[in-house]
Structures are given as C-alpha cells and as structure tokens.
C-alpha cells in the first residue's frame, strides 16, 4: 500500500534501482491488438527461447509492450540498453531473426530490418530540430509494459495524482487545466477545464467521471492504443478529474470490440486498488475514488455523451436533447463529466509539468498535441502524435512518407463519418480545431485516411452515408429519413441515375439535416457529402453528365472494351460469367455492352493488357 506521496517517490526510486540491477538489455515486443494480429506472439516466444538458449536470462529481459505506433512495419521489436539508453527498432520481424536480435543487443542485428529512430523518438537529441512528432499522450505507449504498475511508477506514474490531492485544491486543478487550454480530444474540442468547472460548481453529493472509450470512428485507433499501452495514465487522470469536480466514482465506457484493452484496464484497476491508488483515502488526503468498466455493445452513436449515458443506464443508446448538459444532469441525473481517453491521457503531464509547459506546444487556440491514426494509401501507416498546428503535408508526406505505390495523392479524410475530405490544395493547412472546421471537415477523434487517384469521392461520400445509416439511432426525422434519402441520391449518382436536380437536392437536404438533427451524429453526417461536393464537384458532374467514374470504382459506370492489343487468346471469353465476349480464336474479341455486367473478370484475366477500363 502506498499511503502518501513520500512513499510513492520512494517506491518509484526503489523500482528504478531494482530494474537497473536486473537486466542490462530490454527487448520490447509490440503486443497491441494489431501487433498480435500481425503475428508478434510467436516472435515473443522465440525471443524468450533464444534468451534461454543463449544463457542470458539475467542480462536480457523481454517486455511486452503496447502499440509502438509503427504499424507500417509490424511486427515490431525494440532492443535497448538500460545504461547507455541506446536502442534499435526492428520492423517486419520474423521468428528466424530472434537469435540475431537477442545476440546483438542494442546494436543493429544482421538480417533484420532496423527502422529509423527519428520517427519514433522525436525527443532524441539528434531529431530535436526536425522532429515532426512530439509525445505527450503516447509518452509511455509502446515503451513500457502496460501490465506492470512498477513500470508506470518509474515513469512518474501517479505523481500527478499525488501532487493534485496533497498539494492542490480542487479549484487549483481546474484552474491549471483551464490555463493549459486543453481541449477535448473526442472531437468537439470543448475546453476540458471549463467542463470540469461546470460540474464542480454543482452542489451534489454524487457526481460521476466518465471516460469515453467508445472509439467508434472507423479507422481511428489511438484510444485503443493508449488503453492497451498505458492504462494507468487514464486511471490516474480520471482520479484527478474526480478530485477536481468532487466525484468519487468513475466509469470507463469501452467498446466491447476491444477485448485486450478491457483486459489490460482490469489488470491496471486491480493493481491500483491493491496499492491504494484507487479506493479510500488516496495518498492519505481523504480523497476516495474508484472506478468500473461498462461495455458498449456495438453502436457508434453511443460515443455521443447523452447516448453513452443512456447506454450505461441500460437503455437504447438514443441521444437526448441538451440542455441539460451532463455536467449539470448526467448519469442517473447527477452531474457528470464525459471526457475522451486521449483528453485524459494529457492530464497527468499537465499537472506534473504545469499549464505553461503545455501551452508552449501546439497553437494558441489549440495547445498540445494530437494523435492521428494515419491509414489508407500512405506509406507509413501508423499512430502519429504531432503538435497542433502541424500541416497536413507534414503529416502525410513527412511523417507518413507519401503515397503508396507512387500513386498521386487525392484527398485526406479527417474526422471520420462526421468529417470531410480535403484535397491537395489544402495540404498546407496547419491543423487545429478551427482550421479544419473552416474547411468543412473536423478534427474528430483523429482518424486520418489518405486516398489516392483510385478512390472515387462520390463513392466515399456514399460509404460514409451508409455508415451513418447503419449507425443512426433512428430517433429524429432528419437523420432517420433524411440520411436515407441522401444515401439513395448518392447511390443514384454512383449508378448513373443522377441528374443535376439530384445534385441540388443533395445540397439542400444536406444543409437542412445539419440544421435540424437532434445530436452530433445527424448534425455532422452530411459533412462528407458537402465537403466532397465542394472539393470534388467535377467528379460529381462527371458521374452525372458523362456517366463516368474516373477512378474506376463505380462499377455501373465502367465500360470494358477490348483494344488492338488483343491476340485472340479467348481467355476472357471463357471466363466471362455472362458470355458477353465473342470473337474468333486468334482474332480480336469484342464485348457486348448490353450483356456485360461489369464484373471485371476479363480485365483481370487478360494477359495482354488488351482490355480497357473506362
């Protein structure tokens, strides 16, 4: 049991010494959901076996860690030297490489792919000047064992909580958060300190602190990475929030699709309780706080805070009208704050290092960093954390190292289903909450999907609408019926039935839905439509007027024709499922356009590039 702040400091020091004495070399194996999916488990075992085999048990220690963010190179392993601090990171590791990796310690092993440290360690001396990334939220993720409280304590874990409850008044905590300018990372960007102040001002014996770990934006996975990789940071921050607003109970609402995060959170909660870091009279300061997990059940709209609260209460996840805001009347009608995982992940560092330190990072209006899940057609897919104000270009072409397979960049989608698509001319936008909004997109939770010339923007808009349709709670008219009609119009355009009137209706209906929908889901669901219409109007027009899809995605609009390279091998004709191709052996074949169902089989089959797709 850690009973006061002094004991915490002593304990951390003790662990540091013990670690240093225990092993010289540490091997971090990335064991997040994605790492495991990419096959790190056998590698972990191989490395363990190898250590035994080489008789280096006392010297080399394997550490299971969370997501390193180097998703593009998974499976990833980092080997570091505790004394010198030197390390080497390997990507695309195989079991066969285990021996060499164990053997060479913190020097690059032959036969294994060492990655540049710069991507991952922006704080390194040599990267300092040109580092694009900065790590606050991900400071521990991928670097410590998330299942070990000791490792968290070594990284000053729970020092912020100790500082808050033993040296600060609740109001001081709130003032610090307000002064830091921290804004909610769940999408809206609402000032976190202000939200806490509202809740703190409510006179009520019971209040709640909720962590929104529903992470519903498809293509975003930073909250999962934090929960899997640094769960104690979230627990600590929630306790700080509890202290600030006068709550003794916390709830983490987590999506059921994240079993590993759930497991690691449960371990962390147990550990913290055992050490008295959660529970009664924390750090002897007379402050009680405990928390529990509640599971989602597959509903994106439950990320919306009122829906989330209803879901915790065991109801259908339908949002309700605000006001009253949760900070006034939330869970079980008690004052409640709902904050995102990443928001909480910033809190401890701010308390420890102060508001001024935090404000120096990022922009004036949006201080700090933002984690993005960079995905899609970009070379370095991964988790990136950059200071607010970084340009899209720096993220996609700098950190992300450009577009895959040498294709041309077409658009980047931010903000998930609530966001929009930005095109090349917007690449130099310094991103923060306001700038993205001004461009008709959103910061959202941090999904960033890069698209290239093979993506059809009308189809992307249709895809997002399909998502919204699936996920709408169905409560209010504009979202339940309006989005269905939007979807149908987009479907019409994608299938060649669109007219200029469709386009006009699409625009007016989109605006009306935004203007009238009950909750954030409906209020933002037309964003992908409006932003693609604004940025890629020509593509819409092409679909409508020329009945063509330049990206070759909308298959009803594609025509397959056979050109003069045809040698008459008959392969295509034999493969066509509807016998649409005819021709003499050794003669040029032709496609009967009336029969063709545009399945593309012939296109794939022809070995002579004799089939054109347009």
């Amino acid at each position: 049991m850690i009973e006061n702040a002094k004991q915490l400091a002593e304990k951390a020091d003790g662990i540091r010494k013990e670690h240093a004495g225990r092993s010289k070399i540490g091997i971090l194996v990335s064991m997040g959901t994605c790492g495991i999916a990419a096959g790190t488990t056998p590698i972990l075992n191989a490395i363990r076996d190898e250590i035994k085999k080489q008789g280096r048990d006392g010297e080399v220690e394997v550490i299971e860690t969370g997501c390193m963010g180097l998703c593009h190179s998974e499976p990833t392993v980092e080997v570091f030297d505790r004394e010198s601090g030197a390390s080497v990171i390997y990507g695309q590791v195989t079991e066969q490489q285990a021996a060499a990796i164990v053997e060479s310690g913190s020097k690059p092993a032959a036969g294994a792919t060492a990655l540049s440290r710069g991507w991952y360690y922006p704080e390194d001396e040599e990267n300092k000047d040109n580092a694009l990334q900065a790590r606050i939220v991900l400071r521990n993720t991928g670097r410590i064992n998330p299942q070990s409280l000791e490792e968290y304590l070594v990284q000053d874990g729970y020092a912020a909580l100790a500082k808050a409850v033993t040296t600060m008044k609740p109001q001081d905590v709130i003032d610090t958060i307000i002064a830091s300018g921290l804004r909610g990372r769940g999408g809206g960007g609402f000032p976190t300190g202000k939200k806490w102040a509202f809740a703190a001002a409510q006179k009520n014996d019971t209040k709640y602190v909720i962590c929104n770990a529903d992470e519903g934006d498809p293509g975003a996975f930073m909250d999962r990475a934090v929960l899997e990789g640094d769960p104690h940071a979230v627990l600590e921050a929630m306790a700080i929030a509890g202290y600030a607003i006068g709550a003794t109970k916390g709830i983490i609402y987590i999506r059921a699709e994240y079993p590993l995060a759930i497991e690691r959170l449960n371990i962390a909660i147990d550990q913290a309780r055992k050490e008295g870091l959660l529970g009664k009279n924390i750090f002897g300061a007379g402050f009680d706080f405990d928390l529990e997990l509640k599971y989602g059940a597959g509903a994106f709209v439950c990320g919306e805070e009122t829906a989330l609260i209803h879901s915790i209460e065991g109801m259908r996840g339908e949002p309700t009208f605000k006001p009253p805001f949760p900070a006034i009347s939330g869970l079980w009608k008690k004052p409640t704050i709902v904050n995102n995982v990443e928001t909480y992940a910033n809190v401890c560092a701010i308390i420890r290092k102060g508001a001024d330190w935090f404000k120096k990072i990022g922009t004036a209006g949006s201080p700090g960093t933002k984690v993005f899940a960079l995905a899609g057609k970009v070379n370095k897919v991964g988790l990136v954390e950059v200071p607010m104000g970084t340009t899209l270009r720096d993220i996609i072409f700098g950190v992300g190292e450009g577009i895959k397979d040498g294709r041309a960049f077409k658009a980047v989608q931010t903000g998930g289903p609530s966001g929009g698509c930005l095109k090349a001319t917007e690449l130099d936008t310094a991103i923060d909450y306001e700038s993205l909004k001004a461009l008709g997109s959103m910061m959202g939770s941090g999904g960033m999907i890069v698209m290239d010339e093979d993506d059809c923007m009308v189809n992307i808009a249709r895809f997002f609408l399909e998502f919204t349709l699936d996920e709408s709670c169905g409560k209010c008219t504009p979202c339940r019926i309006g989005n269905k009609r939007l979807y149908e119009m987009l479907q019409d355009i994608c299938e060649g039935r669109g007219t200029m009137e469709t386009l006009e209706k699409l625009d007016t209906l989109s605006r009306t839905i935004k203007d009238t929908a009950l909750c954030g889901l409906g209020q933002t669901s037309p964003n992908p439509v409006l932003s693609t219409m604004a940025q890629f109007k020509d593509e819409y027009l092409q679909h409508i007027q020329e009945k063509k899809c330049a990206a070759g995605v909308c298959h009803k609009l594609i025509t397959y024709t056979i050109n003069e390279s045809c040698v008459g091998c008959t392969l295509c004709a034999r493969n066509c499922p509807v016998d649409a191709i005819s021709g003499e052996r050794k003669g040029r074949h032709v496609i009967d356009q009336d029969k063709c169902i545009k399945c593309g089989v012939c296109f794939e089959a022809c070995k002579f590039h004799a089939i054109d797709k347009s």
């Binding site: 994605c34 990419a38 934006d217 498809p218 599971y295 079980w332 895809f463």
Partner: protein, 181 residues
C-alpha cells in the same frame, strides 16, 4: 418449444433453440450465478444499469439471445421483456438469431474500405453463398461486417472468431475459410 428438440437450431456450435434454458441447466446455472452476484435491488432504474452486462454474459454463454433467455434476464432485473428486446435490437453486438460455428467478420471501416474491403466481402458472399449478416445452411459460418477492429494498419482486415487476418485480398478468401475447423 416442447421437450423434443427438432428445430435444428442447434446445428451451430452454440446452443440454438429457444428451449435453451431448460435443456442446458449448467449454462443456466452459470448465468444465474453471475446475475446473483450483481447488486440487483428493488429500484427498476438501477437494475436497468445492469442489463447490458447481463446480456453480454448471456450471449457469451449461449452465443445468442433467444427469447427465453431475454425473459429470464428481464424477470431477474424486474424489467419488461419489451425493454430488453428494445435494447437487444438496438445494439449490433446482440442477436436473437443463432449464429454459426465460425463468425467471419469483414472489417468495413474506412481504412479497410479504401483498401478494398468491399471486394473481400463480395468474395465471401460469393464463396459462402450467403449475404452479410446471414448464416450458411450447415450452420458452419456466419458472415458479417464490422466497423474497425483498430488494426487499420493491416487493412483490409478480416476477423474470424477471435483471430485477425490482415492485408486480405479476395484471393485469400478460400484459404481463410479452409483455415476454419
């Protein structure tokens, strides 16, 4: 219902007919034990807060939520059956239809979509002869879509039961199916 079981719903790996409560006493005891460990009280509103975790537990046990199980949960919590059904039908995680032995879920999240998840889904539909959300006649496979498992770096992703396949192409579909027991 009735004693003799002839509905054929049991074809899947989990228990498949609406008679499950009586026919599988061990499972019922498991659910009952779980629910008895919860702080169920007189206040309906407070009990409702326990509903979703009970449904998770029950679906974990039976694989799906037949009406008899819904009613069992409803009665223990003092809720109306309609409330329970309203919740089940809202959340895509819950189902009142028996599922196949293997759950094949194609990620249809954005990252996977731009990397061609729709083609993977189409291929599964073609090979298995069922549509998204359906179960094959032999009860072996249930095909579904899901929205992001957070392994977007491996897009397109397919999840079979608890196993994640990354960078899936339509050509791999046959092998993935063959991989299932």
């Amino acid at each position: 219902m009735g004693d003799a079981c002839s509905c054929g719903g049991c074809v899947g790996s989990k228990i498949g007919c609406d008679n499950v409560l009586d026919k599988f006493p061990e499972q019922k005891a498991d659910l009952e034990k779980y629910m008895d460990s919860l702080p169920i009280g007189k206040e309906k509103e407070a009990n409702r807060g326990l509903l979703i975790q009970c449904l998770h537990k029950a679906q974990g046990i039976y694989g799906y939520l037949p009406e008899s199980v819904q009613l069992f949960v409803a009665n223990k919590l003092g809720l109306h059956l309609s409330e329970v059904y309203g919740v089940i039908s809202f959340y895509s995680y819950f189902t009142d239809i028996p599922v196949g032995e293997n759950k094949i879920n194609v990620c249809l999240g954005t990252a996977c979509f731009v990397k061609g998840a729709d083609k993977v889904m189409a291929e599964f539909e073609r090979v298995l002869g069922v549509k998204d959300g359906q179960t094959t006649e032999n009860g072996k496979f249930t095909l579904g879509g899901l929205r992001c498992v957070g392994a977007c770096s491996l897009a397109p992703v397919v999840m079979v039961n608890d196993r994640v396949y990354g960078n899936v192409t339509p050509a791999m579909v046959g092998d993935i199916i063959a991989d299932c027991k």
